[in-house]
Subunit: 195 residues, 2 copies
DNA sequence: CGCGACGTTGATTTGCCTCAACGATTGTGG
DNA sequence: CCACAATCGTTGAGGCAAATCAACGTCGCG
């Protein structure tokens, strides 16, 4: 069932006993969301850290001028939340919503603290998860400053071929930090001479 | 001495016994670096996570065209390293060097693992450190996509007034993702009408 | 003193945005 | 099941933010 992928995922980092798996299950829950449904809403408190068992979601920021800026996509085996909001239990700067109908495994804040006590290994596990998220964020910063839109698009394509097919183009544009119109022009240019 | 600020800093998150402090000292070291000296060099493996006891440093990436992109500054009580390289012990994507003569407390990778074993609390501590770094990185991504250079500069100024005075202007420009010439023009514009 | 590093200024160019219009596709209610 | 609206991608004209290039002033320092 839905927990299988999470267990397998965790086992890549730390190994869990049967008892620990039971504890884990008892302190998390499965959540189904439909397309376009909010998982986190900007301005509200982010209650859960979410593991994607199935589906596709996005995390984005709505700025003062009403423009959306996608900061992250997530498909199977990724995590998604507004970490700042979740960790500090303060209002979120980002919204998270589903691009496809999705299945999530949710960790509530207080239950996660309890999990840390009962299964200290998870402390390490989540440190590793956050490390990876941090590293990815650093890469994005560099990319956004040192490469033009065309290069960023090609890189995105190569790195997330699976994601590009699952999300509308205007969200990819938003992720790349450009307008949909301009992405369209980039695509034309690339198609004209391949790759 | 130099450890005082580190101990005080750690104690804000988790409290250490005298014994633990001794262990900590025995598994880290103090390093003095002079102005312009490398702490991490792009292409090499980042051997240490560094706590800044005194001084000012920068972390930057050198792209294929030879342009520098500053991703982070660090002054007293900040951490600086190429985390990706440090954590995976693989070649660094960034260089770190000193803008002022500085005093660092260095954590070597294998010693840090030993510290985790001897003082499990530190596992939590470093998780929190990385969380904060991650959150800051997220904010930078948003800013870089949703604000123009003038706004980013004013924000930088307000957030790090202490840092702006300690680093040359062209590095601030690099941090903001613009050319030194353009930053100069922004400054003129702002000076003309204050704020 | 003279050189090199740093900041400034102006002229020109360019990457990307805005706005507006138009197909294609999807979906929804009658 | 069709009609109409809404959503999404494309295309072109024009505009602006920021880059590039080149020249010059200033300051600290060997």
């Amino acid at each position: 069932m839905s927990y299988d992928s999470l267990i397998a995922y965790i086992n890549e980092y730390v190994s869990l006993t049967e008892d620990e798996i039971d504890t884990l299950k008892s302190l998390t829950r499965i959540k189904n969301v439909r397309k376009r449904q909010f998982v986190v809403e900007q301005g509200e408190i982010c209650r859960y850290e979410n593991f994607v068992a199935q589906g596709c979601l996005r995390c984005y920021h709505l700025d003062e001028e009403g423009h959306e800026h996608v900061v992250q996509f997530a498909v199977e085996n990724w995590w998604i939340a507004d970490l700042q909001s979740f960790l500090t239990q303060s209002p979120a700067n980002f919204s998270v919503d589903a691009i496809e109908p999705s299945v999530l495994i949710q960790f509530e804040y207080s239950d996660l603290q309890e999990l840390y006590e009962k299964i200290p290994k998870l402390e390490r596990f989540f440190r590793l998860i956050i490390q990876n998220a941090y590293i990815a964020a650093q890469q994005r910063i560099i990319g956004s400053y040192s490469k033009d839109a065309g290069k960023r698009y090609i890189e995105f394509r190569n790195r997330y071929p699976d994601i590009e097919k699952r999300v509308p183009q205007y969200m990819v544009a938003s992720y790349l930090g450009i307008t949909p119109e301009f992405l369209s022009k980039i695509r034309r240019r690339i198609a004209g001479q391949d790759t």
